[in-house]
Symmetry: C2
Subunit: 242 residues, 2 copies
């Protein structure tokens, strides 16, 4: 229909060309800009991504970028689409648990590879190509269940939210060199022990008495929580099956 109302960046990501254009040929494509920005973000976090640094990375002036993106938020859209890439194939999985687990693992891996993703401010639901493919893949994980399409959306969002949240806890706080991360965890436990006195904070104290890592990067913790979430989905499935 009227794809004119689509933001320009989305048009470019989807490969929808506008009319043929007079004037000089563009020196690159949005994808190139996205990759340059990702390179900076992987190295120095999202705060290392500025229009001028991205432009410098590409060898052009800052304002040249505004021929490709309307604002910095558009740059984020491109970065996210590029960073996620395509989801794994799950066609040979046997049941929905296996499929959604593979999906969740891949999602988590993407977040760990590009920790800055979790710092990207999101103001709109996703519409870029790869994001939709991820969405499609997540929904298809529930293909042979009695869940309604609306249920499937909720279930996928639940897993999505879980992975984002749980990975964010470790990634946002522990994206340091491992020994430094351990030191930070230790320091946190020490401070917590100091502030959360047993009289006013008995439950926190009890947690601290167990010799566990308080914040943990351990994949075991990830699967533990994921299992819990999937158990919840299973009970929804059971309810729908009756």
């Amino acid at each position: 229909m009227d794809e004119i109302e689509l933001p320009r960046v989305l048009q470019q990501l989807w490969g929808i060309e506008g009319r043929t254009r007079p004037g000089p040929k563009p020196a690159f494509q949005v994808g190139d800009i996205g990759r340059a920005a990702i390179k900076l973000a992987d190295a120095g976090g999202l705060s290392a991504v500025s229009m001028s640094k991205v432009a410098a990375e590409l060898g052009v002036t800052t304002m040249a970028l505004y021929r490709y993106v309307e604002a910095k938020d558009d740059l984020y859209v491109v970065m996210l689409d590029e960073a996620f890439g395509l989801p794994p194939d799950v066609s040979d999985a046997e049941d929905w648990q296996q499929r959604i687990t593979t999906w969740a693992e891949a999602f988590r891996a993407a977040l760990q590879e590009h920790p800055w993703i979790l710092q990207v401010p999101v103001f709109e639901p996703p519409l870029s190509p790869n994001q939709l493919v991820w969405m499609e893949a997540g929904l298809r994980a529930f293909e042979d269940t009695p869940l309604t399409p609306s249920d499937r959306l909720s279930a996928m969002l639940l897993v999505n939210i879980y992975v984002r949240g749980t990975t964010g806890l470790s990634v946002n706080m522990l994206n340091l060199p491992p020994h430094e991360a351990a030191a930070a965890g230790e320091r946190y436990a020490r401070r917590l022990r100091m502030l959360a006195t047993p009289d006013r904070f008995p439950a926190i104290t009890a947690t601290l008495e167990q010799p566990q890592e308080f914040i943990d990067n351990d994949p075991t913790e990830f699967y533990f929580g994921l299992t819990t979430v999937l158990d919840g989905v299973q009970s929804l499935i059971s309810r729908r099956a009756t």
Copy 2:
């Protein structure tokens, strides 16, 4: 012990005084700064909070704030502690589901009242007084369950993550005047229908065929997901009980 190693802001929030001080009396306390910043953030989002605007709100110069906080991140800590306040009392609840549900509702309410909370970058686990009280309350919700302290921490985090995530979806995208929000949702559905073609995106298409709000502020949706999460916790409890 050596509370000297605590960042200054935390010392002030916890009311731990340093030694007696020569020099002029401070004109206000960190809490005042936090409240001024919250006022700005509630009105204009987190981006409306700048050191100079907060200072102007208080009638002092920008640099005066740096006598109270070491950096802007410290300001965020103060804002969060102030904005969350204290969790609700759940002492008269009958079971853990009721307690954690009340806790989750209050958490959600806080996020909806202060949508900017979800935009605050978090680099450290919480140590401020009110945050620890919330944490304690969340852990206590599982008091009469067979869950271990470590399980309880996981379960609380799971609910925390769910509320943050699900509220974030609606709040980040729909914190507009209601009719404008509806228009945005409508526009999104239209674009999705255009881009997610049935041949390549059958599952998304199926979801769109149901006449539902694709992104929904509806509390029903909130309880639906929460129930699913709690069902998962219930199955963990059942496992632990055996």
